[in-house]
């Protein structure tokens, strides 16, 4: 898999996505449809808000006792016969996995969806070391063939249309050219991947939840690819960010009720598999990864981002994500949550992401664990601005805006001037220099400001009481 584009920023990458207007509209409407399904599922449950609050509070407890829960988890997992590894960063994570495979003399592996391995660029690392990795989630397999990163954490190929998939499969799986039928294409992938499941001796999966009390972990999929891989392989490696921990098995009742409803509007994923002990003759490994998470835990304003359960509800509701596409975020986890996670990893490289938002707050409203996403986006902007990572133009215009807004007389004059310019010299505003004009028509400027209108109308129509 190619690494996300790291040289360009969100604005310029969105421009690329926005070149195909019909596709942007489709992307926008499709994700909004997923959001609507989430609403329908959520509204069907009277205690939905109480569930979100409960999940949020359980996660607050988790963050405050992470060290204790992780120690408990490690002890229990070892008792269960699982081999536990710790990785302080992406490099250590990748090296551990490579060393496990080397130990068994394995050079081909199947992998179900794990955003952590995307974050660590595992595929790229293993390929360079002569290991073949096959992604088995259908969407991930499609983007892997196209040498693209996933554009969405739940719907990895949502930026593609069925004819793109058909072309890709024609090239790689020699399916009939021009057959765009999703049923036909899915079946082709089923046959192609079944052969991989049956022949690969190692399977890597992600982890949705790890239970401190029992040392087991839960993996949720709709396709069944995690289970097909894990139950057929001699070696099962599960990779988890350390924040995936929850205290007790019964807490799954809360999180599993929230996860799929928030993600796709389903009442639950098809499979919620609980892995506690390796099967006879199998080896099971868990890699627990930090990679910047302990730093984020120390940032009071941002630690709540570690409560995330990766449902992507914030992606689907975000007006900026829906119209700019996942690749414009140039990071493994896109969308609003990715925009508050990425600056923790590299503030300079991801300085643009907290600005890829209207701060409308919809992300925070749909979040099943109540992360204050839009507040954190705003707070990152302050830090990035103060540390000088915001672009020069953005910093200047923000200063100008702050000055204008805090000086009423300047505001009035500026408003008047703006209306005059819009009316008499639209080409000055409607040009390529003004990013607000891309994909937009400017509105007809009003003849007078609200201030002027109010003054006039107050004079002619005095209050009656």
């Amino acid at each position: 898999m190619t690494s996300p584009n790291t040289s360009a920023d969100h604005a310029s990458l969105s421009k690329k996505f926005n070149a195909d207007e019909a596709r942007v509209d489709w992307h926008d409407e499709t994700l909004w449809f997923v959001r609507a399904k989430r609403d329908k599922a959520a509204h069907a449950i009277p205690e939905w808000e109480q569930l979100r609050e409960t999940a949020s509070q359980i996660k607050n407890n988790v963050l405050s006792n992470l060290s204790g829960y992780l120690e408990q988890f490690e002890e229990k997992a070892k008792q269960n016969g699982i081999i536990v590894h710790w990785a302080k960063d992406a490099k250590a994570h990748n090296e551990i996995i490579f060393s496990i495979l080397k130990q068994y003399g394995i050079d081909r592996m199947v992998k179900s969806k794990s955003m952590l391995t995307e974050e660590c660029h595992l595929n790229h690392y293993l390929q360079e070391n002569g290991i073949e990795v096959i992604d088995t989630d259908l969407g991930e397999r499609i983007v892997q063939m196209r040498e693209e990163p996933p554009s969405h954490i739940v719907l990895p190929a949502i930026h593609l249309k069925k004819q793109d998939v058909s072309d890709t499969f024609h090239e790689h799986l020699h399916t009939e050219k021009g057959n765009n039928d999703p049923q036909f294409l899915t079946n082709a992938a089923r046959l192609h991947l079944r052969e991989k499941f049956l022949t690969r001796r190692a399977a890597l999966t992600g982890v949705n939840f790890a239970i401190a009390e029992t040392g087991e972990f839960v993996v949720c999929t709709n396709e069944g690819n995690a289970d097909m891989g894990a139950h057929l392989a001699d070696v099962h490696i599960a990779c988890m960010g350390f924040e995936k921990i929850i205290p007790q098995r019964k807490h799954l009742g809360v999180f599993l009720r929230l996860l799929a409803r928030s993600a796709t509007g389903q009442p639950v994923t098809t499979y919620s598999s609980h892995f506690k002990k390796p099967r006879k003759g199998q080896e099971m490994h868990i890699v627990i990864v930090d990679n910047g998470r302990s730093t984020q835990l120390g940032r009071k304003d941002f630690r709540n981002s570690l409560k995330c359960i990766r449902c992507a509800a914030c992606f689907n509701t975000c007006p900026v994500y829906r119209r700019s596409g996942g690749h414009s975020y140039h990071t493994a986890i896109a969308g609003p949550i990715g925009s508050i996670l990425a600056p923790n990893l590299d503030m300079k490289q991801y300085a643009d992401l907290p600005f890829a938002s209207t701060l409308c707050g919809s992300c925070s409203n749909v979040c099943p664990v109540k992360i204050d996403i839009h507040d954190q986006l705003y707070k990152w902007r302050q830090i990035i601005g103060k540390d000088g990572y915001a672009g020069q133009a953005k910093a200047l215009s923000m200063k100008g805006m702050a000055f204008t807004l805090s000086h009423p007389s300047v505001y009035k004059v500026a408003g008047k001037a703006g209306r005059w310019f819009l009316k008499n010299t639209p080409f000055l505003v409607n040009n390529k220099m003004n990013p607000w004009y891309h994909q937009r028509e400017m509105p007809e400027p009003p003849k007078e400001s609200f201030g002027e209108w109010y003054k006039k109308n107050r004079k002619t129509k005095p209050p009656t009481h």
Binding site: V34, L138, N225
Partner: protein, 208 residues
């Protein structure tokens, strides 16, 4: 790598990556916040069986209310006339399914057409059935078979996932799973397709 204590200059014993990570977490985690109790949520529907059937049909499953094993056998013969290999560990279904409990390589089940399993717990709100490897000698079977059939008793259907975990909070297993409907994907243009990597169909017999 050793850690040098800033105030004493003494070296602490070497730690693995786990030790360093836990140390960093301890230094950065906020003051302890108590773990809350999960509230008691009253079910938001009355008839758990009706709800179960409704939800399973909604996600592409097939469901039959039956009163005995003969009925189950009849239905299976009717619905899967071309099935060449049927596997089950339910003794009453010995006449239609192979029941080998010998240890075999899971790969040997790659050509199973139908797998039939007894589930001791099902959840009305999402139509999932629960199975552990205590009853499932081969973990891959419910995933590798082309069609999955579950048999549940009516009284084993609970309303919500909270009720389900009340029953299974303390049981031991090596592997366990909730399965709700046939395997599926919508990764191609959001078009729902049943039968991604796991079973293409799921049938549940509710015994009353």
């Amino acid at each position: 790598m050793d850690v040098t204590n800033k105030s004493t200059g003494l070296q602490s014993p070497p730690l693995g990556d786990g030790g360093y990570i836990l140390q960093a977490i301890k230094a950065n985690q906020p003051a302890l916040i108590d773990l809350i109790e999960v509230p008691e949520f009253a079910p938001y529907f009355d008839d758990v069986v009706a709800k179960y059937i409704d939800v399973l049909r909604g996600i592409g499953g097939v469901v039959y209310l039956v009163s005995n094993d003969e009925e189950i056998i009849e239905k299976i013969k009717q619905d899967f006339p071309d099935a060449k290999r049927i596997v089950s560990f339910i003794p009453a279904l010995a006449s239609i399914a192979e029941q080998n409990k010998q240890e075999v390589d899971p790969h040997d089940y790659e050509n199973v057409d139908v797998f039939i399993m007894q589930s001791s717990l099902a959840v009305a709100e999402n139509s999932a059935v629960w199975i552990t490897d205590n009853e499932l000698p081969v973990r891959v079977l419910p995933f590798i078979a082309q069609s999955l059939i579950a048999v549940i008793n009516k009284q084993d259907i609970v309303a919500t996932m909270h009720d389900a975990y009340d029953k299974i909070a303390d049981i031991d297993y090596g592997f366990a799973t909730f399965i709700a409907g046939p395997s599926k994907t919508a990764d191609i243009e959001q078009s729902l397709v049943l039968g991604a990597h796991g079973p293409k169909t799921m049938t549940v017999f509710v015994k009353q």
